[in-house]
Symmetry: D2
Subunit: 286 residues, 4 copies
């Protein structure tokens, strides 16, 4: 080949989706933590790819064992703290491992109420949004990105869409009152690694949702920008926010053929296709 030899480019490997449940039973009032953990290591693994030499390949099975053992040795705490410990273990512990991407989903549980009292050791999964966390180590540099996904929200009014350009292929009517619904996927990068990640998560989540609720929307883009901006305004520890939001279309059903009006009441919730709006909001110079 004129362009040169064939070489290995960027690569990583690890164990994906280790389903980890930890019960803390120091007292009769148990605590539950429920994670889905994925490890991915980076470093000098070229000999494995080119020659099948596994002498540097920390087995993915070993990575999985480490996840479960760490949950016992060090506890979990916030997913971010748990992943930071794992990242340190892998990157500091193996000379040829130069970096890692550790990620987790966390599922929320609440106590079952019995006669109006929260039960000691019986729980139901809330089904609310999934909390996400990604810790990336690259040599000595560490980044922590928190997030959430599958957070479905809807406004039944306070959303308009008009003033868009019209070309040959434009048929959409302008509207000054529509349903705005989306399933929020958000990630936000922290400036530091020594934060109260659980408290921050709760705060950022609340800011995202309350901003969605209160912004009078002229476009989903505008709503997204305001959501990210509100988080940055309130939380110095957040460096940037990325949002990916499907526009879950709710079409007003035409009931005129049945001699019925439909003043913003009856909607068909469509699956596909859907608008998809993605944006990052950050501090200038960040």
């Amino acid at each position: 080949m004129a362009q040169g030899d064939i070489v290995l480019g960027p690569n990583q490997y690890g164990k994906a989706e280790c389903r980890l449940v930890r019960i803390t039973r120091d007292t009769d009032v148990h605590q539950i933590e429920d994670l889905n953990v994925t490890t991915q290591l980076r470093g000098d693994f070229a000999a494995c790819h080119t020659d099948g030499d596994n002498s540097r390949v920390v087995a993915t099975d070993t990575q999985k064992n480490t996840v479960y053992a760490f949950a016992r040795e060090h506890g979990i705490g916030s997913p971010e703290d748990f992943l930071l410990r794992l990242a340190a273990h892998f990157v500091d512990g193996f000379a040829w491992v130069s970096g890692a991407e550790l990620s987790a989903e966390q599922y929320a549980w609440e106590r079952i109420a019995v006669d109006g009292r929260a039960h000691d050791h019986a729980f139901s999964r809330t089904g609310r949004e999934t909390r996400t966390a990604v810790v990336e180590r690259d040599g000595e540099r560490t980044s922590v990105v928190a997030g959430l996904k599958d957070c479905t929200v809807l406004k039944s009014t306070g959303s308009e869409f008009h003033g868009f350009p019209r070309d040959r292929y434009t048929t959409l009517q302008e509207t000054t009152d529509r349903i705005l619904a989306t399933s929020v996927t958000a990630t936000w990068r922290y400036t530091r690694t020594d934060l109260d990640f659980d408290a921050l998560y709760d705060g950022v989540r609340e800011t995202l949702l309350s901003t969605f609720a209160t912004v009078h929307s002229l476009a989903l883009q505008q709503t997204i920008f305001e959501m990210g901006k509100a988080v940055l305004e309130q939380y110095d520890a957040v460096a940037e926010v990325s949002l990916s939001c499907p526009n879950k279309h709710h079409f007003l059903v035409d009931l005129a053929p049945f001699d019925l009006d439909n003043p913003g009441e009856v909607f068909f919730a469509a699956d596909r296709p859907y608008g998809l709006i993605q944006a990052t909001v950050l501090r200038e110079g960040a």
Copy 2:
């Protein structure tokens, strides 16, 4: 064929999964109802099957239109009441339609909190269990079956499993303390059609969950029976309860190779295979 001619057996048809969202906006405090409705009609449709004669085939598109129009004309209310109205329309309205199976899933939303106050018109989907309802009409006979699904619950103690028979293929160890987790699918048949279905749903749901929490379990079968029994004891309007519960295995991770004990703390949540326990509980003579 010696066995006789080939004939049409049981059959039904309709429109599946009409995603219906209704906003009630009588006041500034909007209400949202969110359903997935499926219609299935039964009756004398033989000519369509055997000859392609559609003169009696109420088009599935018409059925869908009816669902949306009824949401405007009559409102929704409980899914059971909505389906009862649809059943009456189809079975009483077309001479050759002798029966129908109408079903719905309902998704729960809660108001987004802004500064501690529930917002007027912004909602987030709770993600809790899905409520289900099935109305079956067969001539003049009507049955109403309510239910829920995807209700994931877990007990971190208070569950044993031992005393089972051992044969050549048995390797399972006995245990006096395990995690018991399941995703409850429950249906319950009402004795009447003129009930407060929303209040009953809340009550039956709470009974199912609190019974799961409080029964000291010797087997998932026992827990299921007690759950169904508690519903029947508390609600005269319920004739029978059916439960289908996967045993979502949480395996205690063996940490001994790492010189760690594991006193009921760290678990691997497995996907497949899973135990599957199904039972109906009913009144004798019902």
Copy 3:
């Protein structure tokens, strides 16, 4: 309660979704079998439900072990034969087990071609429809039901739909040429248990598909009936055929606003809602 005591009704339990892969390596040309097996036992298990007495509860873990051990001891062969052996083991082997429902999905693999030659031990999953089998034992009575699912088929012409009744809620236009598409779920019950199930599966599958292709359709109902009828006409060993077919709507896109015609060329394939047609075809007197 006036209506009597609360009692246990129909119930069954077992291990669901045992993913079983068997490699036959008698020669260098390996064979692969890939199943998802579910066992469900019925019998006298009341003491477990009412008292947590497990002395008759063949553990679901034991059932799983039996599935894997049987794959080694007896091989697999057709899924029907494999399930028949398991049914005999459970129902004949435990006095209090009076019946069982054993089911399986089977996934098809084909050999990877290397230089035009089928490889000895490398395979790719075909992704075609999933084959299904259910064996039911009730005391001495045994039924075998074969089937397939997720078999997506489409006709780009040769399908009409008109002549249906029009009521207040009817807006659908009549058509003499539409796309007909569905994902076939079919099950068929055999008259005997000593059949060449693999050959029959191939034959029934081919009959279903070729009938779908060749019937000029006036309604999906008609197509379904003809598909079932063709199977019964060709296979004496089949007692009845049940079909469940979503009408996967392909809507002709209205391109007139863009000054384009659309003579049956460009379609939007919709997800939900969909028509759903279900019917059983059987021999009179069967």
Copy 4:
């Protein structure tokens, strides 16, 4: 904020998952093309985000219309060619649109055989891997990335894994004969935009699979590298290949408790966790 004002970072938007089916009916032998198309535009959309000014927002509905209209006006052909035309339309047609990411999935259909002859207008979906294509325009620069996903392959022998480092958390046994199975996700970037994309797809796909089959594997990493390398060696038009491959673990079932050996015959196919190996292979200096 000390760090400066809050600004909009990278962003894009468009219509996701336009399900497009095109029938070519020039002759009685129809052709079918089946795509899932997503459009994402980039450019100067800041005013929409910050002020809700939509004067530059080509509506996602307009984008969808364009997809369907283009399928009529220009046909589809290869997904890459279809996306290239769409990219040119959006980026060249709107002054403020500076780039676009157009992507598509393509589903394969085959003709139903009737009496051994391929039918003119009846098809079944093959269910084989999904073909993917991404066209990215950034100003005048265009990149074309083809790919496939959900291509499940398995080798029943010819795979070893040993020589990996052992630490405190390592329990995995070494093996010289295991099942190697994965679901290949591959993407490859072309050097040019004027290629016979359909022929290249078939060729690259065959090379990937036959290399998987023939490489004696010492690690999944090695297999992946060889797969990418083989593509680069055979196809000058390919600049780099990226592969993401879950190690779909097949665990040999321990049958010793049942007095049975298991010489590589009976396996449990696990779901989660799974190894995940990702690598890019490219030409040096590319």
